[in-house]
């Protein structure tokens, strides 16, 4: 129930404690599971390669596609490498790419969107045209195209996706910043003689930051999907480097032979990570909207 008469004026006035603050995030059970998963994956991305019990690169064709053995709980891949070690080592490449996409994309989008919302006029119109134009390129297509031009690997797709995601982030930030600028406090600050750059960076940007964080979390999930697809298609991370998307691909042959462990474990990690970030992103957005 929103914006009508008397009865929505319900606010809580207790002094918030730490417990209240955490509860106040109102993430719900699924939201908290997502938080836990995000923490786990972050640890994996940082320490994964060090946690790997075996060398993820050591091949032993005699053990190719072998089932789990003592010390090798997930078994062996098609070249006889330890799947668990490769999953752990693959966390870093799999998660670092999306992180860079989001950081790069969010930074560019925020800069354009906030300045556009503030300046209005021709600058706003041009930024809008750029966003509209970029929207016509699905992220995956732009990433594939970048590989066609610049060659296989993660660098080109990461930059391409950052550009492709700009409008998704930029439009939300722009409309958020616009509704901020249309509020009286911004007019008041102008009338108070506060310099434009201070209004933008001390008031506008902090007030849209929650939006940026929520949207970045969601986009991280999308970037993970698109980048892993690039690797799955053989256009991104190359063998023998461990990467989840690539492992789903290399494991596909095993699936047909009844050895789904490689595809399955890497695929599960991807799915869990993407779900966790998406759910968390949605919960955060919902919370922002609820305010």
């Amino acid at each position: 129930m929103t914006t009508t008469t008397g009865y929505q004026a319900i606010t809580l006035r207790e002094k918030p404690t730490v417990v209240h603050r955490i509860r106040g995030l109102e993430l719900g059970v699924t939201g908290w599971i997502a938080v836990v998963l995000v923490v786990v994956f972050t640890i994996m991305a940082i320490a994964g390669p060090a946690l790997a019990p075996h060398d993820p690169y050591t091949q032993d064709l005699l053990r190719a596609n072998n089932p789990p053995a003592p010390g090798y709980p997930l078994g062996f891949d098609y070249e006889g490498r330890d799947i668990l070690s490769r999953v752990l080592a693959g966390a870093r490449t799999s998660l670092l790419g999306p992180l860079l996409v989001v950081i790069l994309g969010a930074a560019l989008a925020t800069l354009l969107a906030v300045t556009a919302a503030w300046a209005r006029g021709w600058w706003d119109a041009s930024v809008n045209v750029v966003f509209d134009f970029l929207l016509a390129f699905p992220g995956l297509l732009l990433a594939v195209l970048s590989v066609a031009v610049f060659g296989k690997g993660l660098v080109a797709p990461v930059v391409a996706l950052a550009i492709a995601y700009m409008p998704a982030m930029g439009r939300i930030v722009r409309s958020g910043a616009r509704s901020e600028t249309s509020m009286d406090y911004v007019t008041a600050l102008r009338a108070l003689g506060v310099p434009a750059r201070l209004i933008v960076f001390r008031h506008l940007v902090p007030n849209v930051t929650p939006l940026i964080i929520a949207q970045a979390t969601t986009l991280f999930g999308f970037a993970l999907l698109d980048l892993s697809a690039i690797s799955f298609l053989g256009l991104g991370v190359q063998e023998p480097q461990p990467d989840w998307g690539l492992m789903v691909n290399t494991g596909a042959a095993g699936v047909l032979l009844g050895h789904p462990a490689e595809s399955l474990s890497a695929g599960t990690c991807l799915a869990l990570a993407a779900c966790a970030f998406t759910v968390l992103g949605l919960r955060l957005s919902r919370r922002i909207e609820g305010r």
């Binding site: 509020m183 009286d184 008041a188 102008r190 009338a191 108070l192 003689g193 506060v194 434009a196 008031h203």
Partner: protein
């Protein structure tokens, strides 16, 4: 010796503003003596807020002139320096107490930000000044250290008033500043506004559709309709015995004891 006329705080002459095909403000002239209070009365679409925005330098007049404390301020400020200068001459309190404060900033932080910009004070002096301003509008230390969300509508309006005073501006525009408040809260804020005027000699420009509020707070009024001034005079005289039919109609429309609503039209005027 001839009696000296007190200096004018605001002089507006032949002010006009056109948006596209519509004249939002047409040939508006008035002046306010320093320390006096002028009410600008009108309904939505009367152009009263457009006048305020031009006075604040947020909007460029199509034609006409604005003088603040004897200096020509017809054009909006162009540089940050000019903007600050204008800020020290005139300030504004907005209608919506929920939108006129940055929700991430405590009341004292909002006041400090303004003081840092407009007054050359040491940290200690600044804190002292924040407390003084708080006292003036009736906000204690606990309230000053609160975020807007912990304050009621009336308390937020007090913060906005204190913030306007913080630049040292001798003239303050009150744009429907009490319209959104509950009756009991409205009275508190109205009294604060009167006390401030007595204590500081500040000049008010009160923009309001509420005749009783206007009557309570100002000396003189102008009545605006469709961008133009239709009647002017002292508040007591204009509001008690209006001469223009529109002012009369406005007055007749205010509910009060033994009031009978009058039906104006048979056909729907858009």
């Amino acid at each position: 010796m001839p009696e000296q006329t007190p200096p004018s705080a605001v002089v507006v002459d032949g002010l006009e503003r056109v948006f596209g095909d519509t004249r939002a403000v047409a040939d508006v002239s008035f002046s306010v003596v320093r320390g006096a209070a002028l009410g600008i009365v009108g309904e939505s679409g009367s152009g009263k807020t457009t006048v305020a925005r031009m006075l604040m330098g947020l909007l460029r007049p199509t034609s006409g002139s604005i003088q603040l404390a004897g200096v020509d301020r017809s054009a909006p400020p162009r540089t940050e320096g000019e903007r600050r200068e204008r800020a020290r001459e005139i300030q504004m309190v907005f209608q919506d107490p929920y939108g006129s404060l940055d929700r991430r900033q405590t009341a004292s932080a909002a006041l400090t930000e303004v003081l840092r910009l407009h007054a050359n004070l040491s940290r200690q002096q600044r804190d002292e000044r924040v407390r003084e301003l708080g006292d003036l509008v009736g906000l204690d230390k606990r309230r000053l250290d609160s975020l807007p969300r912990a304050l009621s509508g009336g308390e937020r309006q007090r913060v906005a008033i204190a913030r306007a005073l913080a630049t040292g501006a001798p003239t303050i525009i009150l744009d429907e500043a009490v319209a959104a408040l509950d009756v009991s809260i409205q009275a508190q804020v109205l009294n604060v506004l009167r006390q401030i005027r007595e204590a500081t000699g500040v000049t008010y420009l009160l923009i309001s559709h509420d005749l009783a509020v206007v009557r309570y707070l100002v000396d003189d009024v102008v009545v605006m309709k469709a961008g133009a001034i239709v009647e002017r005079g002292t508040a007591a005289q204009v509001l008690a015995s209006p001469e223009h039919a529109y002012t009369q109609q406005l007055r007749d429309s205010v509910p009060r004891p033994n009031w009978r609503p009058a039906r104006r039209t048979r056909e729907g005027a858009a």
